[in-house]
């Protein structure tokens, strides 16, 4: 069976996200390099690094003074926030362009970037608050249990407890995030007001939600795991220079690729869900005041939006009526609900 998403589209998105990561990290590296060059570039001391990228003597000398690090470390928080925002907006563009099958790819990406980026951000802030409350609850619960518990039973007990706490937090937040991604995917497929979208994860079946959460967690862990593996290799193999940098970039690329794949999977799953709903709707006669197609209004059934977002997929055998405005069609959700 032919893939719904050609590799080229995913590849291009991957490239953009990776370049985005470089765009935000490169200036820091360059600034650090320039400062390091001023600090000790003409020093033989730095040559000890050859073959020993993590030379402890160098670290001992360098970290306490850390003049180059001190220069770049203030840049870290704004850059992280900047990349976070870029990432959210990119997700808008990526998911929308993956959902939209007509028109030029990058045009739909840009439209999604502009239109859904801000909506995703709003959604993200809501879920971040939920995540914060979840983390707080989990931490409080663990704290309470620890206070009630007797003396630690062994060296490893605190570590196991910390790992368990981390796993619970990670799973909880991952589940929330997957719900968040479900909403995102549905939103680009079937645009509706935010408050309606928030109900989407609750309306879907639990199996789908859990599967989505697992995929999200696996991808995230894979990314972190790969990075850890490469760092471990860098420590043990004394790999250095270009090879080390290439290995490290591969790890970053894998993380980024996983993310893009995840977007595609969620959109695909969202479409599948919508199709299932659509099948169910076929069995129910349409209400008199609900337009079947081409009315241009947002509807509870979502059929109209599915037509536009899937680019001509038939609804009950009728060709899509939104062909005259293929790119704009998902944007019709802005109209007040119930008005045609």
């Amino acid at each position: 069976m032919r893939s719904v998403y050609p590799f080229g589209k995913l590849g291009q998105l991957l490239l953009v996200l990776y370049l985005g990561s470089l765009l935000f990290s490169w200036p820091v590296g360059a600034l650090f390099g320039a400062r390091l060059d001023d600090y000790a570039g003409a020093s033989l001391f730095l040559q000890r690094l050859e073959g020993q990228p993590f030379d402890p003597l160098f670290l001992a000398e360098f970290l306490p003074n850390a003049a180059p690090l001190k220069l770049v470390s203030p840049l870290l928080p704004p850059l992280m926030v900047g990349y976070f925002l870029f990432h959210v907006f990119f997700a808008g563009g990526a998911m929308y362009s993956l959902a939209e099958r007509r028109g030029p790819f990058w045009a739909s990406f840009w439209q999604g970037f502009m239109k859904f980026g801000s909506r995703f951000l709003l959604l993200n802030l809501i879920f971040l608050s939920l995540a914060a409350v979840t983390v707080l609850l989990i931490v409080s619960l663990f704290h309470l249990v620890q206070k009630m518990a007797p003396e630690p039973a062994g060296d490893m007990a605190p570590l196991y407890i910390a790992l368990l706490q981390g796993a619970v937090i990670f799973t909880g937040v991952g589940l929330l995030q997957s719900m968040h991604y479900v909403i995102r995917a549905r939103w680009v497929l079937q645009p509706r007001p935010l408050w309606q979208m928030l109900r989407v994860p609750l309306q879907g079946n639990a199996r789908f939600l859990l599967l989505a959460a697992v995929k999200y967690l696996v991808i995230t862990l894979l990314g972190f795991g790969l990075a850890a593996l490469v760092i471990r290799l860098a420590f043990s193999l004394t790999v250095h220079g270009v090879l080390l940098l290439v290995l490290l970039q591969l790890a970053v690329l894998c993380t980024v690729a996983g993310r893009i794949w995840l977007y595609a999977e969620f959109v695909k799953d969202g479409r599948r869900q919508l199709r299932a709903e659509e099948e169910r709707m076929k069995a129910v006669p349409p209400a008199a005041n609900v337009p079947v197609a081409g009315g241009g209004g947002a509807t509870e059934s979502g059929t109209d939006a599915v037509v536009s977002a899937t680019g001509g997929a038939a609804v009950g055998g009728t060709p899509a009526a939104a062909d005259d405005s293929p790119v704009e069609s998902p944007g019709r959700e802005n109209r007040p609900e119930g008005k045609t």
Partner: protein, 660 residues
């Protein structure tokens, strides 16, 4: 100058005459204690008999005692007050407080004197501190007169906050009994008049006491495994499932013990004729300019109380202990006691780890140490360091309150050097990295810059957070810097002679400095004084390389400027590397107020690089990165690090977007 030279020669003669002579031990006090340990109440109660002789020339009217567990009795004790100034302040838990209470006190011939006790605070006047109590006698104790003090006391152990206390079923019982202060007659440690030296319990210091004889009869539940200072000379079953132990030791300044039912006992013996090879005796004899027979080490019984969760680390602990007994013995002199006991604190009792008491100390292992990357955190460092305290502070019993560097600094240097003997005998000291040692010291030294105190200070008067770096790390680096200036064998000899001279004594910083002055090396003596007393610093730098175009003969002139910031005036090697591969080495020493020097070379090839102190011998140098200079920048390492930083940044960004 001639006079100075004669003085130096005279000093050297005196120094050599002192030779390898060892001071005799003269116990000033005897403790006999009979106590019951109740793990349920976490208490130790019993009675003690102290026999004390006035060894000063003056009558003594008062007797001060340490009641150190009272440091954990109140939130505003001096210990907790000082602790709150740190970033890692520990909370006071009233429900788990400690205490040391006297229920009776009498002196033979003077009657019951309990009502005459008064808490005093000689260090900070903090009225909430009850760690020192003073007894005013009804009549003075005359010179050479002995008195017998009979005390009944109860000590409640605190939940482990620092050093002593309990965690679960593990108990480290230290500073637990009423202990007499030290009488300092005129001439002792610079005293002009007879005085008592009895400090409060501080966050960073707890040691200074007379050498004493101890006999302790301890009764504990039979399921508890007990380890203590000294030799176990009897063990008998008692009614109600208890066991009585008797421990005895002579000429030690403290007595501590530990108890836990989860200890597994590992015993072995260090054999002086087996664990040290003839070649090692011969090598050390050559270094120290002694006969091998004079270095022979006696056998020592080794006992390790290993918590069962860490049993897989017992062999490593034992091996390390043997190495420590060997190298400290060869270097400074034989370990004179028959027994050494190592206690491995239970999980959750990290606050008790790495504590030193005479013939008894705690290690500090963790199950994770069997695994990468935690295996890099070597327990050997702690074992060697704490064993070393049997020498530095255990036998050379300097005052840890007033001159903490004298034991912590010298011992950190000795520990790092012994680690070098053990693991990296031919390597550069700074390369003995994963063992802690000098690199850790150097890291902390640089991290705390600028340092606002000289090395020597009263332990609670350092700039906040700077106690450790001065008392341990900077002092250690100072001795490492002095080592090559004097020549390593001569330096080792001088330190050995200092140890032998003040073994079972209470030397001061002045004694240490005088000893090295007598050793005849003016530079070393000045360096030690400048850093220990005056906060001297040094930073050698390679400043510039200028090369002129070739002259008519085709020769180029290379001019190199080097400089030295700071107060220390040390000679330093400079390595000049030319483009044709030839190297030239010169020694430079800043003189007077001129802190820089320019070298000029007219040769056929220009200079490629200059390295000041190429072997990193000046371990106190504030920055090694500026010690060298190449005429043309070397970009590869910078690129590597730039790439790494970029990658780390990328990964941080990816982590941040986990929630995006």
């Amino acid at each position: 100058m001639q006079t100075v030279r004669y003085a130096l020669v005279a000093g050297l003669v005196v120094f050599l005459a002192v030779g390898d002579a060892m001071a005799e031990c003269e116990p000033r006090v005897a403790y006999e204690m009979t106590v019951d340990f109740d793990p349920g109440d976490r208490s130790v109660s019993g009675r003690q008999v102290i026999v004390w002789r006035n060894y000063g020339p003056d009558p003594v009217q008062t007797l001060p005692f340490h009641l150190y567990m009272n440091a954990f009795r109140r939130a505003d004790s001096t210990f907790f007050r000082e602790d709150r100034t740190s970033r890692h302040a520990r909370p006071f838990e009233p429900a788990n407080a400690g205490a040391c209470r006297l229920t009776s006190l009498a002196i033979d011939g003077m009657g019951d004197l309990l009502d005459r006790l008064l808490f005093i605070q000689p260090d900070d006047g903090n009225p909430a501190d009850e760690t020192v109590v003073s007894l005013t006698l009804p009549r003075p104790v005359m010179p050479a007169e002995s008195i017998t003090i009979r005390i009944e006391f109860e000590t409640v152990l605190p939940r482990l906050v620092a050093r002593a206390g309990w965690s679960g079923n593990f108990f480290l019982v230290a500073q637990w009994y009423p202990k007499l202060g030290v009488l300092e007659p005129p001439g002792w440690r610079g005293a002009l008049l007879t005085r008592w030296n009895c400090h409060q319990y501080h966050r960073h210091s707890e040691f200074y006491a007379n050498f004493a004889d101890f006999e302790v009869r301890l009764t504990a539940p039979a399921e508890y495994v007990i380890g203590a200072t000294g030799r176990e000379i009897a063990r008998t079953p008692e009614p109600e499932g208890r066991t009585a132990y008797v421990f005895r030791e002579t000429c030690v300044h403290d007595f501590a013990w530990a108890a836990c039912p989860d200890f597994e006992v590992v015993r072995d013996t260090f054999f002086g004729q087996v664990d040290v090879t003839a070649a090692e005796y011969a090598a050390w004899a050559e270094w120290l300019e002694m006969k091998p027979a004079d270095l022979w080490l006696p056998d020592v019984r080794l006992t390790i109380l290993m918590h069962r969760d860490h049993r897989e680390l017992a062999d490593l602990t034992l091996h390390t202990l043997k190495q420590a007994v060997k190298y400290y013995g060869l270097w400074f002199g034989p370990y004179p006691y028959e027994q050494i006991t190592v206690v491995d604190p239970a999980p959750g009792a990290a606050a008790a780890a790495g504590m030193e008491y005479p013939t008894f100390f705690t290690g500090g292992s963790h199950e994770l140490q069997a695994w990468w990357p935690f295996s890099a955190i070597r327990l050997e460092t702690v074992i060697v360091h704490e064993f070393g305290h049997n020498y530095w502070q255990g036998m050379v019993a300097s005052n840890e309150f007033e001159e903490p560097w004298l034991d912590e600094g010298i011992n950190t240097y000795a520990e790092a050097t012994v680690n070098r003997f053990m693991y990296n005998p031919g390597g550069h000291p700074l390369e003995t990295l994963s063992l802690g040692g000098f690199l850790t010291s150097r890291y902390r030294y640089l991290q705390r810059q600028p340092l606002l105190d000289p090395v020597n200070r009263v332990s609670w008067e350092y700039f906040p957070g700077h106690y450790g770096v001065n008392a341990y790390d900077r002092a250690s680096l100072l001795l490492l810097t002095a080592e090559p200036l004097m020549g390593r064998p001569r330096f080792y000899q001088a330190l050995r002679q200092y140890f032998r001279k003040f073994q079972f004594g209470h030397p001061t910083t002045a004694d240490f400095l005088q000893h090295f002055k007598d050793a005849g090396n003016e530079t070393v003596a000045a360096l030690l004084a400048d850093v220990i007393l005056h906060n001297g610093t040094v930073d050698f730098r390679a400043d510039s390389i200028r090369v002129t175009p070739p002259n008519e003969e085709g020769r180029v002139t290379s001019q190199v400027a080097v400089s030295c910031l700071g107060e220390l005036r040390l000679p330093v090697d400079i390595l000049f590397c030319f483009e044709d591969g030839t190297e030239l080495r010169e020694t430079w020493r800043p003189v007077g107020d001129r802190n820089w020097h320019e070298f000029e070379f007219v040769r056929e090839t220009p200079l490629a690089a200059v390295v000041v102190d190429p072997e990193y011998r000046v371990a106190l140098d504030d920055c090694f990165a500026n010690n060298s200079l190449t005429r043309r920048p070397v970009t590869d390492p910078v690129d590597t690090w730039q790439g790494l930083v970029q990658f780390v940044m990328q990964m941080l960004l990816q982590v941040a977007t986990w929630l995006a």
